[in-house]
Amino acid sequence: MSYSDIDPEVVQWVEMLRSPDLSDRLVAAKALQHLGDEDAIEGLIAVLNDESPMVQEIAVTALWEMANPVAITPLLGCLDSSHSEAVRNEALSALKELVSPDDLLKLLDTIQIDDENMQLNVLVLLRKIHDAQALPYILPFFESENPLLREASVVTLRYLNQVVRCEPALALAKDPNDEVRRSAILTLGHLSDEAVTPILCDVIAQDSDWQVRRNAAQSLDLLAAKAAAPALTQALADDHWQVRKFVARALQKVATDEAIPSLVKALSDEYSDVRRDAAIALGNIGNPDVLPALQQTLDDPDRDVQIFSQRAIQKIQDQMAETSHA
């Protein structure tokens, strides 16, 4: 397209983008952002490699607002270590909105570039696409020396559709880095591998980090595996209330009569969330022996606990009535 076809105001600003004066380039980039004219895209793409990170950032924002797919490849180039952190973050935010499943191959090519920031950002973008074709490209990062890459890759695994087994991810449950273990354990909850439940039971009993144990309880809640009930029952005595809360929640799906003593004890927990979830779990077990314990919680200082205890009592009484009718 020649300049004669373009709005003269846009031409003036695009030319100013090439000025040696930084303030001129800043003003021009900002003006083009506000104009939002697609004819400026080429000029804005050119300044993505401007010597000033401030100009680069405005150009990224402008291209983001124009939302033209032409800008995807140049914006991917802004994710590498040669750009400032602010520019990388802005480009990542832009690409999160712009990438579509059609860009999968482009992303898979880019992730092979030997640049850790680039790889980290592309791992985040792959979460938007959910395509299981990305799995072989993600696996090598599980063994990366950089814990950020290990964590990002195991989180991305969680977002891939149709992936139900991934043996290499199981090893990350024993990663030396707390953050990696926290993410890995949450990801395991989305896999349906038989090996996952024993690992999560082991983690909930032994991991030194309470957030890892809490995440293990969340994953066991998702999996709802009956085999986890004994480990969950033991974990109801965890030192951290967040762990106890999610353990009680997980027990709502899998608890049997063996869990009753621990759950009744949890009805007098210091934290009301734990008391409430324990009351719900007891209601789901449906054993009439727990009615006196539940009735005592009807005057709990927390209104939530009172309501859910009442519902649990009602549920058990309904079940009793049904069995007596039958």
Partner: protein, 75 residues
């Protein structure tokens, strides 16, 4: 004696050392049109104290020259 170079009794404070003379980004985005250029210095300033504290001026400034001081009770 140190002299103040900015008005600090209005909520939108412009750091004149960072404000670009040719730039009008903040003036264009202000929904109340309370920001103007000082014709002598070419720097932006808040002419009318009727700010909504909506913050686009602060966000759009390419050099981060603008600070909007949000009153304590609105934070």
């Amino acid at each position: 004696m140190a002299l103040t170079t900015q008005r600090v009794d209005v909520p939108v404070i412009v750091d004149e050392s960072k404000c670009l003379e040719k730039c009008t980004a903040c003036i264009e985005v202000c929904p109340l049109d309370v920001l103007v250029k000082n014709p002598e210095t070419g720097k932006a300033y808040m002419k009318y104290d009727e700010c909504w504290f909506c913050l686009p001026c602060e966000k759009e400034c390419p050099t981060n020259a603008i600070t909007v001081q949000i009153p304590f009770l609105l934070r």
